[in-house]
């Protein structure tokens, strides 16, 4: 724990420089620079098709960017497989919830613990000491996480049978199970009513404060973004058009143009915050 916090104070958690991802001729993410400092909540916003999720996929190893460099706690992560990225301490959730069908809520979280475990199939067959200790620890860890997320009562329910909001929380619990440094949340408030959104915001702050996490999120709900972010990055057509505090971004004419397509002086800037 100590060495981890030490490493954090001295350098950014994530530093992307000149990241470019093309699909054929289409530049999905172009020359993107992004720096996230420890214990921040950073947001990436932008109109549909701006390349936000593509950027997430580049970080989490689904795509390999053609150009640029991404460093996680000072070490390059581009070109790593998704499981290697996760093992280094980056966990993520998805825009469309992807839970493991046919597994219970508890099992879903237990899968998330996978990279922190070392036991082998042989250990499981023979019930070697390491396997038994790890199994108990996994179960405990997973249950405590579910307790933290308020899902402990539905531990034994099939994950796909949960209501929508709980599925979102379960996905976050699964991401937290690998004990990440950086959590990528892809539209955590999508499809939620105002009260649930309020709870989600509160919850993301709690994650940052209690779990000692750095959070990077994509969100369309400007209310969420402007309220909880320490730093906002705005993408349009794969390029960064603005970056800074929520207040700064809100007043940036380029951002307003990207969202509303009109000249800055004609628009009520507060529109973005509502």
């Amino acid at each position: 724990m100590t060495d981890r916090s030490h490493a954090r104070e001295t350098q950014p958690v994530l530093q992307a420089t000149g990241v470019t991802k093309r699909f054929g001729g289409l530049v999905a993410v172009g020359d993107l620079d992004l720096t996230i400092m420890p214990n921040q909540i950073a947001s990436v916003i932008g109109p549909n098709g701006a390349g936000k999720t593509t950027f997430f996929n580049c970080i989490s190893g689904f795509y390999t960017p053609e150009e640029g460099e991404m460093r996680f706690l000072g070490h390059p992560i581009q070109g790593l497989r998704p499981d290697q990225v996760t093992a280094r301490g980056i966990a993520r959730t998805y825009q469309n919830i992807h839970l493991f069908k046919g597994m219970t809520v508890l099992e879903n979280v237990m899968v998330g613990v996978h990279p922190s475990l070392r036991s082998t199939p042989l250990g499981a067959l023979l019930r070697l000491p390491l396997n038994n200790i790890e199994e108990d620890a996994t179960l405990t860890h997973a249950y405590e996480l579910l307790d933290f997320m308020g899902l402990a009562d539905v531990s034994d329910v099939l994950a796909t049978n949960l209501p929508y909001g709980s599925q979102r929380r379960l996905e976050i619990a699964r991401a937290l199970a690998s004990d990440p440094h950086l959590l990528l949340l892809d539209e955590p408030a999508a499809g939620m009513n105002p009260q649930e959104t309020e709870e989600t915001m509160h919850f993301i702050r709690r994650l940052r404060d209690e779990r000692d996490l750095t959070v990077l999120l994509i969100e369309h709900d400007m209310n969420v973004v402007m309220n909880i972010s320490d730093q906002v990055t705005v993408l349009d057509y794969g390029r960064k058009i603005s970056e800074g505090t929520p207040e700064y971004v809100q007043r940036d004419p380029l951002v307003i143009e990207a969202y509303l397509g009109t000249a800055a002086d004609e628009v009520d800037v507060n529109l973005l915050a509502t």
């Binding site: 998704p82 990225v85 069908k101 996978h114 990279p115 082998t120 790890e134």
Partner: protein
């Protein structure tokens, strides 16, 4: 009023007629498949069943129209069905009269079929009666050709009824029976609705599901079925004093069908054993420890007693007499008593835990019933059990690949073949013949150099590897603890001084391999192995080598198909299965080619002298199934099992959660293949001669079917599937021809009606355990609960 009634009646009769035509078409289809000839005794009941089912369906649809309409409908149904079948048969008959060889077109419509359907002896059918040698005229009073339906087509007079044949199977009999079946179906539904039997049935089911008495009855079903089996078997009594051997007739004499019925009871024992263990609930039924113990020990005492009686009275021994181990009877008695004692100790300890009573009771009963069952079955029946057991092993192996990891493997039979051939090469005494018919000089090792060498090499390399690994880890742990860089790897959940890193592991592995080979060859050079292992059992060596060979080939197949999913994976693995079979067929000089490998010995203990082989085979298979099932269950609840399950659900997401796909897939292929290899070794030992054709694609398909029908990812489901698809057809030997058809029909039906399988895997319930663990964790950490 009358008009509407008539119209109603016509409308409902139309429904009946349509249903009747459907029934007729189905029966014609069954006739074309050859059902009447191949299933002589079952054919008619099968046809009636079809009519009955449609009658019930019809009646359910038309229930509110009243009984009169229903009866009219049933009449229409029977008439229409019989008429259709009759017309078809008459048509066939007409063709035959015109010398059109229908057999060429409808393979199964032979004179024999007609005989069965019409109830007319074959000699009367299609036989041209002898003409009068003087006048050249046909004999008077007899039709030119006897029509199976007792109807003659005459070009002059048209249709003419010759006589009325009321034999069941003749047209009129057929007609009447079909109508009766329709009526019966109708009356059944009507009766049910009038008497409100449906509600009673629901209430009965609810009672059975909730009542504790009914529930404990379910738990005791395996011993009950075992008792039933015991009642149907004749017993021998051997009087050592006089040296006489006499037999007592069974209490329930099954006569000619004993063979089949006893097998079915055997399957029921296994089936209800699975059901009982699953049905066990965490309760002690309010009994004290002593009462619980008395009940469980009582069952053990009675059943072990029955086993001993069989062993001593009927002289049924499950091991051959061996110089090393002693006489068959002594070994059998000692082993049986040992099993009883083990179970007793297990119960004495296990019952102390509150809430384990039902599990203990069901488990003890089921295990004993299954273990003692082979003693009460004869050789043929045990043979069927062996086949079922081998298929269960294959199923459990494929269940790992398909059921757990979701990788569709259609070439699974390859690993089975590799296991079988590994054992065959090691043990067969046959000289392979070359293309010119002369021995090629290729001699399968046959319990000599190769077996002795391997019998030495395997344990030596294992021991040396273990020692090297242990020392390597010890040395690695002594070095100063590395500074764990946070970005390098996740902190392990459990802090431990664990396995060495990558380069160190490689170093230890290489050292282990080189050193073990060196040590083994040194030992071999001194002639130590020749002295120690000259009597080594080829079976023991074979099962180890077979497992290792198929495990390695599993990895070898896994590597090229790592990137493939779904259909592509299925096609490539299918190709792999065929390649292995073709290699065994065509590498004549090494494998014996299509003539196969012959004279494979049965697995016998070292220095065996006596002759009881078949029971040891069953017990070997039982042990194999037990071990593999146990391993499957353990793997399922492990880290690896969860990784497989996640991978099955969504590969990409599983990878991003941190699962190493390559590792997970290869592990699944390797373990699945190893299980098949064990099955293969036992298969070769049972068959004693194996041919490449034993390992065709059909085997893969059959095993896949039994996994799907039983329930993917469910261990009891696979056992159930093997009984349903391999065991039951063995009982109904006549159904052999329809096996593939029945497979297909069952698969379609299962996918529609019960996609999760016969005995699907239950949803894992871990919450209580997790909560208690978490609570004790809090307490240890000094926090609040």
């Amino acid at each position: 009023m009358l008009q509407t009634r008539t119209r109603q009646f016509v409308a409902s009769a139309r429904e009946g007629t349509l249903s009747g035509f459907t029934v007729g078409l189905i029966i014609i289809f069954l006739i074309l498949l050859g059902v009447p000839v191949n299933l002589t005794s079952i054919a008619l009941p099968l046809f009636l069943l079809v009519a009955l089912i449609f009658g019930v369906r019809l009646a359910r649809r038309l229930r509110e129209h009243g009984i009169g309409h229903l009866l009219g409908n049933a009449l229409a149904l029977g008439l229409a069905a019989a008429l259709l079948v009759f017309l078809f048969m008459a048509l066939i008959n007409r063709w035959q009269e015109r010398n059109i060889k229908v057999n060429d077109y409808f393979y199964s419509v032979s004179p024999q079929t007609m005989t069965v359907l019409s109830g007319v002896p074959a000699s009367e059918l299609f036989a041209n009666p002898a003409r009068d040698p003087l006048t050249g005229a046909y004999p008077e009073g007899k039709p030119l050709r006897t029509n199976p339906m007792r109807l003659t087509f005459d070009s002059e007079t048209g249709l003419e009824l010759v006589d009325i044949n009321l034999v069941i199977g003749g047209f009129y009999g057929f007609l009447i029976v079909l109508i009766l079946a329709g009526l019966l179906g109708v009356l059944l539904v009507w009766g049910f609705s009038v008497a409100r039997l449906g509600d009673t049935w629901k209430r009965t089911r609810a009672y059975l599901a909730t009542s504790p008495q009914a529930h404990s009855g379910l738990l005791l079903l395996p011993p009950v079925f075992f008792a039933l089996l015991w009642l149907t078997v004749g017993h021998g009594t051997y009087r050592a004093a006089t040296g006489t051997y006499s037999t007592i007739n069974p209490i329930i004499n099954l006569g000619g069908s004993a063979q089949e019925v006893q097998l079915l009871i055997g399957f029921a024992i296994i089936l209800f054993g699975l059901v009982a263990v699953r049905a066990a609930r965490p309760t002690d039924v309010g009994l004290s420890y002593r009462a619980r113990l008395a009940l469980c020990l009582g069952i053990i005492a009675v059943m072990i007693g029955l086993g001993l009686w069989r062993i001593i009275g009927s002289r049924t021994y499950f091991l051959a007499t061996s110089k090393a181990l002693g006489g068959s009877e002594t070994i059998s008695i000692v082993l049986t008593l040992a099993v009883g004692a083990l179970l007793a100790v297990q119960n004495i300890v296990g019952l102390r835990t509150p809430g384990r009573f039902e599990t203990q009771l069901a488990g003890t009963g089921a295990i004993l019933a299954v273990l003692l069952m082979p003693l009460y079955l004869n050789q043929g029946q045990n043979d069927v059990m062996t086949i079922v057991g081998i298929n269960v092993m294959l199923g459990l192996g494929l269940n790992i690949v398909v059921g757990y990891a979701g990788l569709l493997d259609l070439g699974y039979v390859a690993f089975f073949a590799l296991g079988a051939y590994s054992y065959a090469f090691l043990s067969s005494n046959q000289m392979a013949l070359g293309a010119d018919g002369k021995p090629t000089g290729l001699k399968f090792a046959g319990n000599d150099e190769m077996v002795i060498k391997l019998a030495g090499w395997v344990p030596t390399t294992m021991i040396v590897t273990l020692v090297v690994a242990y020392l390597g880890i010890r040395i690695w742990r002594r070095r100063p603890p590395a500074v764990r860089r946070p970005w390098e790897r996740q902190r392990p959940l459990v802090a431990y001084s664990g396995r060495p890193g990558g380069s160190m592991t490689a170093l230890i592995t290489v050292t282990a391999i080189l050193l073990s080979a060196l040590v083994a060859s040194l030992f071999e050079g001194t002639g130590l192995y020749d002295r120690l292992f000259s009597k080594a059992s080829p079976f023991l060596v074979g099962i180890i080598i077979g497992t290792i060979m198929s495990l390695l080939s599993g990895i070898a197949l896994g590597i090229p198909v790592l990137r493939l999913r779904g259909d592509y994976l299925a096609i490539v693995t299918l190709g792999f299965g065929e390649i292995i079979r073709l290699l065994f067929t065509n590498l004549r000089d090494y494998t014996g080619g299509p003539q196969g490998v012959l004279e494979i010995p049965r697995p016998l203990p070292a220095g065996a002298t006596g002759g009881v082989g078949y029971l040891s085979m069953v017990y070997l298979v039982l042990i194999g199934v037990g071990v593999i099932a146990f391993f499957s269950l353990r793997l399922k609840g492990s880290r690896t099992g969860r990784a497989w399950s996640a991978m099955k659900s969504d590969e990409a997401i599983a990878q991003s959660v941190g699962i190493h796909l390559v590792q997970s897939k290869l592990t699944a292929f390797a373990i699945g293949a190893a299980f098949a290899g064990i099955g293969g070794v036992l298969f070769a030992a049972r068959q004693r001669n194996i041919y490449p054709n034993d390992f065709r694609l059909d085997v893969s398909i059959e095993v896949l079917s039994l996994v799907i029908i039983g329930g993917m990812g469910s261990v009891p489901g696979v056992i159930m599937g093997a009984i349903a698809l391999i065991g039951v057809p063995e009982v109904l030997r006549q159904l052999e021809t329809y096996r593939i058809m029945v497979f297909g029909a069952l698969l379609v039906a299962m996918v529609i009606l019960r996609p999760e399988g016969l005995l699907p895997a239950p949803v894992v319930q871990l919450r209580e355990r997790a909560r208690s663990l978490a609570q004790s964790h809090y307490r240890r950490e000094g926090g609040e609960v």
